[in-house]
């Protein structure tokens, strides 16, 4: 069934978009990532103009994250205090990110820099997670207990300590705030929720338990992506509501299924799967930059100043 999208000005197969939404929704529920880093490239592939794909996927992330968050709320795996701290940082970072984004656009190489950002961040994070979870699995196989990640390091020496009861942590608010700012900046530049950066940062940097991480990251993602959607809708007019509805119908159902799958899997397995996925997307984007493209030329509309 073909549907014409009013903002993107192209006609697409409705079932294909529903399927894409569903697939990304499952991942979102399983890993607590918004799925923006997956859905945006997938939409490019279907032929949606890049500007519309980026803006619309942020709207879709709001829906699938909200659905997944409700499932986590029932299981009490959301650390609200940590969520608010991350969110304050996120909104500051998002504002900074928009300024940086406009500076890059003035230089005329925004596409390349966004792609490079993706390759570098996905590569580093995916690689680290992959190695770490592989070691964790090997340890449990040997029969020994997985070592606790709650080690004392420089983070515990910082001031403004706050007790995060749900996470079982007593640390300074500065590291979570900084993580929030970083994620906000990247979210605005790369057009993603930032879950794939925040989840590992929370696990490895802050030492939060994996089960709590997913729900808390979802809580923060909803607000950051809602803010980004409003920015895109009011400044670039690139949010396609018809495309968003198709994506999110698939997405919200997928998110519920994904949460169920996530509950039945071990934390190490979950992490290694996410690492694998992140590396896959990273490799694909890197090949795009390294291999000679079939068509050396590309078209872009002239921005009327």
């Amino acid at each position: 069934m073909q549907i014409y999208l009013p903002i993107a000005e192209i006609s697409v197969n409705a079932y294909l978009i529903l399927g894409l939404g569903g697939l990304v929704g499952i991942l979102s529920g399983m890993f607590g990532v918004g799925g923006g880093f997956l859905i945006t490239p997938l939409l490019f592939f279907v032929g949606i103009p890049p500007a519309v794909a980026v803006a619309t996927s942020t709207n879709q992330i709001v829906a699938s994250s909200f659905s997944a968050l409700l499932a986590h709320l029932k299981r009490r795996t959301v650390d609200f205090r940590m969520g608010w701290v991350l969110l304050i940082g996120g909104l500051i970072g998002s504002g900074l990110g928009v300024i940086v984004f406009n500076m890059l656009r003035a230089l005329g190489q925004v596409d390349l820099l966004v792609k490079l950002c993706y390759v570098i961040f996905l590569g580093v994070i995916g690689g680290l997670m992959f190695i770490e979870s592989l070691n964790a699995i090997r340890r449990t196989r040997k029969g020994g207990r997985a070592t606790l990640r709650k080690k004392h390091n420089w983070i515990h020496g910082l001031p403004f300590k706050v007790r995060f009861r749900v996470s079982g942590l007593y640390i300074s608010v500065i590291p979570p705030l900084m993580v929030g700012v970083l994620v906000g900046i990247l979210a605005a530049i790369m057009g993603v929720g930032g879950g794939f950066i925040m989840v590992p940062a929370m696990i490895y940097l802050l030492g939060m338990p994996t089960k709590v991480v997913v729900g808390t990251s979802l809580f923060q993602i909803i607000f950051v992506t809602a803010f980004t959607t409003m920015l895109h809708a009011t400044t670039n007019y690139t949010v396609d509501i018809v495309l968003a509805v198709l994506l999110l119908v698939g997405g919200v159902i997928g998110a519920q299924v994904g949460t169920q799958i996530g509950m039945r899997m071990k934390a190490e397995q979950l992490r290694i799967l996410l690492a694998f996925l992140v590396l896959l997307v990273c490799g694909n984007l890197a090949l795009d930059l390294l291999l000679q493209p079939d068509e050396l030329f590309s078209l872009s509309p002239v921005v009327i100043k």
Partner: protein, 255 residues
Amino acid sequence: MRRLVVGLLLAVGLAVSANAEEEIVLGLSQAEVSISTNFNGSEILIYGAVKRETPVPQGAPLEVVMTVSGPSLPINVWRKHKRFGIWINTEAVEVDRAPSFYAVVTSGPLDHVLKRIEDLRHKISIPRAIRSVGAPMTIKDSTAFTEALIRIRSRANLYQVIEDGVKVDQQTLFRAAIALPAALTEGDYITRIFLTRGGTVVSQYQTVIDVRKVGMERWLFNLSRENAFLYGLLSLVIAIAAGWGASAAFALLRR
């Protein structure tokens, strides 16, 4: 392609040119193309007759050339080069005017039915319909950029050349079908018909096909431009409602 014949509207016009012995009387299967939710491209029939007071002139036979042109916009054409091991956009040429859609349909091979000088005068073939004035001094081969533009758009079926696409009967009646793709930009699609003899234009006629979004498409598009804040809020409300709805539905299923 679905053939939409909404309203049979006969646009009758009289065209006067240098040689006014032969005039075009034209009809379109539809003077409007409505882009609705299930729009998936459209086919337009263009048909007409040659009106003349005198007998059919001797000599070269009558040939017909039609063009349909979408709204023109400036566009940047980028070329990639390998720098530091990766492929990046390094050079750009701004094409001042390039139609979003352009079709040339003729009754025979284009170089046979139309002289080069007439093509230049009336801007009929695709390279003539595109206007590119200033390429930066550093770029020597600026034609490669306009060629790339034509190649990319032709692949998307946005630029079409259909030779032998017009059927001419008895040097008097002619008809052609033009397929409009699904990825269509709104606007006035200027349709021109030229009658040629021996490659020289003897008569021409111009009309407009109106391509517009209708219904929900129209409403959403207007809302997104005129009331962007409300539109943004609406998309967020839908997102939150859908997220909550799915969660509630699954809770019921599990009970």
